[in-house]
Each structure stands twice: as structure tokens, then as C-alpha cells.
């Protein structure tokens, strides 16, 4: 599919069989990880397009894909999602109608009364993203720092604080739930 521009220069190249095989292997090996990464951060109807765009960028920039591609793919996916959110905000601010909540918090889909979910949702977005990268995406601190665009030292500190805040909020919710449980069980005991 080579194509020449008006000045006679080469605009597009025909991929070599080696490039095609490399990309196909990349796609098959990492599709599920990228799909989960995207589904954790946006709503299902927008996720498929974001995953496809992530791999389309990887196809265009195959020469830039590093030997350990997953953190690189996560960075691309993160940027695709950011671009979509910015576009949705611009469209909304210009008076257009769009989905009310483009950046959906996927964990809202989990039962609302779970203490873990409520504790997670109570955190600030930077803390949530830090925990998503480490706990759900399963990245080590070095790769997570790369995806977050932070230094390893900064990310490690951020992760430690996010863990503490999450544990503290979880404890607070559980403490608050105990008196409520006692209050509901006492009349039954008194009546028995």
C-alpha cells in the first residue's frame, strides 16, 4: 500500500510480513489486558472504540513499541481516553448534547453498599488512579509510575498514601456500620 505524495515523497509504506506478524502477536497477547485497562476507566459503549484506537496507534507507530509493550500500550490507551474526554467536554461546552458522564467510574457498577467500593469512590481521583494501576492493572511501581507520568519515588509515595487513605476510609465505614447493625438487631432481641 505504498503511496506517493504530490512532491513525489513516500507517504505510506507497505508493512513487511515481519511487521504484520509482530503486530498480530502484540494484538493477540495484550488485547485482553488493554481491554480491561480501558473498561476500568470508561463506560462499555466507549471502551471498544478506545481499545481499537490504542492498537491502531500501535500499528502506525510499530517502530516505537518497546520490547516490554504493555506499559507503553497503557500510556497510549490513557492518552486516547483523555483525548475522548476533552473532545466530549469541548462538545458539551459548545452547547452540544452528549453523555452526561463521559469519564465513568467503572467501579460504580459494583454494588453500591460494598464498603470496599464506597471507600474507593470516596478517594480523590489521583488516589483512585494510583490504586487502579497497582491493584487492578497489576503493575509494579516502576511500570505504574511510567503510565502515571511520575517518577518512581513520587509514585511510590503516592501509592503508600493512597493505600493508607483507602484503609482508613474502609475502617471508618466499618466502624460506622457496627452501631447501625446493633440498632437493627436490638429490637429483635428485645422482642424475643
Amino acid at each position: 500500500m505504498s503511496q506517493l505524495g504530490p512532491s513525489g515523497h513516500l507517504l505510506y509504506v507497505t508493512p513487511s510480513p515481519a511487521d504484520a506478524a509482530r503486530f498480530e502477536a502484540l494484538y493477540r497477547e495484550h488485547y485482553a489486558d488493554v481491554a480491561r485497562f480501558v473498561h476500568r476507566r470508561t463506560e462499555p459503549s466507549a471502551a471498544e472504540a478506545a481499545v481499537a484506537e490504542t492498537f491502531a496507534i500501535a500499528w502506525r507507530r510499530l517502530d516505537d513499541v518497546p520490547r516490554r509493550p504493555l506499559p507503553w500500550l497503557f500510556v497510549v490507551a490513557r492518552n486516547v481516553l483523555r483525548g475522548e474526554r476533552r473532545a466530549a467536554e469541548r462538545y458539551r461546552s459548545s452547547g452540544g448534547l452528549t453523555r452526561e458522564r463521559a469519564p465513568v467510574e467503572a467501579s460504580e457498577l459494583v454494588a453500591e453498599h460494598d464498603h470496599e467500593t464506597r471507600a474507593f469512590l470516596s478517594l480523590a481521583e489521583p488516589d483512585r488512579e494510583t490504586l487502579r494501576l497497582v491493584v487492578w492493572d497489576g503493575l509494579g511501581h516502576r511500570d505504574a509510575a511510567h503510565v502515571a507520568g511520575a517518577t518512581l519515588a513520587t509514585f511510590t509515595l503516592r501509592a503508600s498514601r493512597a493505600r493508607r487513605r483507602f484503609a482508613a476510609e474502609l475502617a471508618r465505614l466499618e466502624r460506622a456500620a457496627v452501631p447501625a447493625q446493633r440498632a437493627t438487631s436490638q429490637p429483635q432481641e428485645a422482642g424475643a
Binding site: 507517504l11 480491561r36 492498537f55 474502609l170
Partner: protein, 59 residues
Amino acid sequence: VNPDDAIRRLREVDPVRDFEPVVDDGKLGWIMARPRPSRVPQRRDRAPRDEVGPELPEA
């Protein structure tokens, strides 16, 4: 709540824990049918002579 225990519990509420994405072969073909830009650096500062119009007469 111990932070390690809290993190273990958070792992269990991963919203896509039971989500098993299926590789989409159709999408793979669609992506690979898209052209890949050439990585050869292009000269953008000068158009070919036939794109800049006639030369001005000398003063």
C-alpha cells in the same frame, strides 16, 4: 483495617474481574488494513517548482 488486607479486599472488587475480553479478529484485520505512515523524514519547507507558480521576472 490493615492496609495489606484492605488492598486484598479492593482487588476482589475489581469491576472487570469477571470480564474475559475476546480477541476481535475482525478489528485486527481492520487495523492492519490501515496504512502505516512512512518514517522517512519529509521536507516540508519547499514545494516542488511546479507547485509554486511562475517565476517573477528579474528586476
